[in-house]
């Protein structure tokens, strides 16, 4: 398994990561080595095996349908890199 630089760039774009050319080359090699290691899973016959989709056998409990207090807006916005009144400010999305 060998990832090409183009594949690395495609994955980075999906992950919203901007990589330097150095990082692209390093990751291509390292990710290829890791994928070679995980390829051993193909040796196993998993036909008829259910995937473990829940780590807890009890299932998911539901809470009562009641109102719960949330954070006050000022506290929720206290860590915002940019805010205006009770809004997060982001770069322009629609030109």
């Amino acid at each position: 398994m060998s990832l090409t630089l183009d594949e690395v760039r495609r994955i980075a774009a999906l992950a919203r990561l901007k990589l330097s050319p150095d990082e692209e080359r390093t990751f291509a090699g390292q990710l290829s080595a890791i994928l070679d290691h995980v390829a051993q899973l193909a040796e196993l016959d998993v036909s008829g095996v259910e995937p473990m989709t829940h780590a807890l056998a009890e299932g998911v409990p539901l809470r009562a349908d009641e109102r719960c207090p949330g954070l006050p807006p000022d506290e929720a916005l206290a860590n915002a890199p940019a805010r205006e009144e009770t809004f997060f400010v982001v770069p322009r999305i629609i030109e």
């Binding site: 990832l3 690395v8 994955i11 980075a12 999906l14 992950a15 919203r16 990561l17 901007k18 990589l19 990082e23 990751f27 390292q30 990710l31 080595a33 890791i34 994928l35 290691h37 995980v38 390829a39 051993q40 899973l41 193909a42 196993l44 998993v46 095996v49 259910e50 995937p51 473990m52 989709t53 829940h54 780590a55 807890l56 056998a57 009890e58 998911v60 409990p61 809470r63 954070l71 506290e75 929720a76 206290a78 860590n79 915002a80 890199p81 940019a82 997060f88 982001v90 770069p91 322009r92 999305i93």
Partner: protein, 489 residues
């Protein structure tokens, strides 16, 4: 006086306060003094919170004076991995992307510990986003092993283990996704417990791989770890994955010994790949169990050798999803060069994440991307079922499974940083308990003769049977005696 206080175990410190022979104020000053004196060399703490700690100590002393201590932990100094949200105290997960982040609420476990009266003196170093086995992935510098400063304390909860080993605090909390409590506990010669998935709340714990992450304690002794676990175990309606099962008493049966205990020894775990010193120490621990009246049982975990492969698909896949929230919009770093929203996301994440989170986000994104999901993520989830079945089968014949925590003692700083796959293989024995959602712990079983470094014995138990694990660990600890304290050179 202070010089002796920091070397007390958590239980001893609590007893001192209960008997009125000491104050929380003195314990806190001793801990802060010890941190001041040693942490430039150890690097266990990312920050201390002396003012809050002193205020909490004064309150604890007030309760003690009225005979109204809240718990055995009341007034005892502890510290937290920097993955736990602490209201009003910066929490970074050792990442630049969260530098300056001040949480608006506490994690449930932080509330529980403070409700029990424990005094938090600071936040501990770790691998960035809990991704790593050596603490070298911290964005704020490495942590050093108190037994040999040139070696790693293990990771990802390196600071949590090192702080306890270095006698800086009497107990700590960490998290374990693939071995991040047990590995550093083994490397630093302390006790570390990863409870059953669902036993401890993860509300307010920064998420890495949500089907694997679990919170647990570090202590100098098994009793200390049991006391901390008792304070944090239990259902939390704010954590969807937290179990409603009643919590056992972890302390009551601690001295019950090992007579009649069936200790399963997975043949695959001793089949080679261990250093001679680790193998010798583990075999001696098994012989000790036999001498104490336990029965050693040969068991097989045939799929454990696929653990690393399954884990390095599942954990990165979940991480790539969990770490999507760090986008520069609501909290943490924003890198905005005025080129638009998508560019802002990518620039923020490029500048804010270190190499290991990037590597895992890339791996996880690939494993989940169109055309690869069935071959990678789904297949890994099926292998996870096989790993769990191995344990279910083994537990028909035994009460606990015992083996090494890691193939070697603590390795040297820098030794594995160039090759991520070699670093990942340090978790080969711990990862299966996470995949199977089972409780596991590391208890010291001596020093390796060649290096003088601590070796840990790993015990894995049935779901929610932490009490048996702790009793078994205590039986070994009582026989082996405490490790010599590190001489921090």
């Amino acid at each position: 006086m202070s010089a002796e206080l920091f070397s007390l175990s958590l239980a001893e410190a609590g007893d001192l306060l209960a008997a009125g022979r000491g104050s929380s104020r003195d314990l806190v000053e001793a801990a802060l003094g010890r941190i001041e004196a040693t942490d430039a060399r150890i690097g266990a703490f990312l920050r201390t919170t002396p003012e809050r700690a002193r205020a909490a100590a004064a309150a604890a002393d007030g309760r003690a004076a009225k005979g109204a201590r809240l718990s055995p932990l009341d007034g005892v100094p502890i510290a937290l991995k920097d993955i736990f949200l602490t209201k009003g105290v910066e929490t970074t997960c050792a990442s630049r992307i969260l530098e300056g982040f001040v949480p608006p609420y506490d994690a449930t476990v932080v509330e529980q510990l403070e409700r029990a009266g424990a005094v938090v003196v600071g936040k501990l170093n770790m691998d960035e986003f809990a991704m790593g086995s050596s603490n070298e992935n911290s964005a704020f510098g490495p942590c050093h092993n108190p037994y040999d400063l040139a070696r790693t304390p293990g990771g990802s909860s390196g600071g949590s283990a090192a702080a306890v080993a270095a006698r800086q605090v009497h107990g700590t909390l960490g998290t374990d996704t693939g071995g991040s409590i047990r590995l550093p506990a083994a490397f630093c010669g302390v006790v570390g417990v990863k409870p059953t998935y669902g036993r401890v709340s993860r509300y307010g714990v920064i998420a890495f791989a949500s089907s694997l992450d679990q919170v647990g304690p570090f202590g100098r002794t098994v009793r200390d770890a049991a006391l901390l676990l008792q304070a944090i175990a239990g259902h939390d309606p704010r954590d969807l994955t937290s179990s409603t099962r009643p919590v056992d008493d972890y302390v009551a049966g601690l001295e019950g010994g090992a007579r009649g205990l069936r200790v399963g020894v997975p043949r695959e775990w001793l089949a080679g790949g261990l250093t001679a010193g680790v193998e010798r120490a583990v075999r001696e621990a098994l012989a000790t169990y036999e001498r104490l009246g336990a029965k050693l049982v040969d068991v097989s975990l045939p799929h454990s050798r696929y653990g690393i492969a399954a884990y390095y698909l599942i954990a990165p896949a979940e991480a790539s999803s969990n770490l999507a929230r760090y986008d520069g919009v609501r909290f943490g770093l924003r890198a905005d060069e005025g080129r638009g929203l998508k560019e802002m996301y990518a620039e923020t994440r490029e500048r804010g994440f270190g190499a290991e989170p990037k590597r895992r986000i890339m791996l996880g994104t690939y494993a989940l991307s169109a055309g690869y999901y069935d071959a990678y993520y789904l297949r890994a989830q099926k292998v996870r079922t096989l790993v769990r079945r191995d344990f279910d089968e083994a537990f028909r014949d035994c009460d606990v499974v015992a083996g090494p925590v890691a193939p070697s003692v603590a390795f040297r700083l820098g030794e594995k940083t160039a090759d991520p796959l070699q670093m990942y293989l340090a978790d080969v024995f711990t990862i299966t308990a996470n995949l199977a959602a089972l409780p596991g712990l590391s208890v010291p079983c001596g020093l390796e003769r060649e290096s003088g470094m601590p070796v840990g014995l790993q015990l894995v138990g049935r779901p929610f049977d932490e009490a048996t694990l702790l009793r078994a660990a205590r039986a070994l600890e009582r026989e082996a005696g405490p490790l010599p304290a590190p001489r921090i050179a």
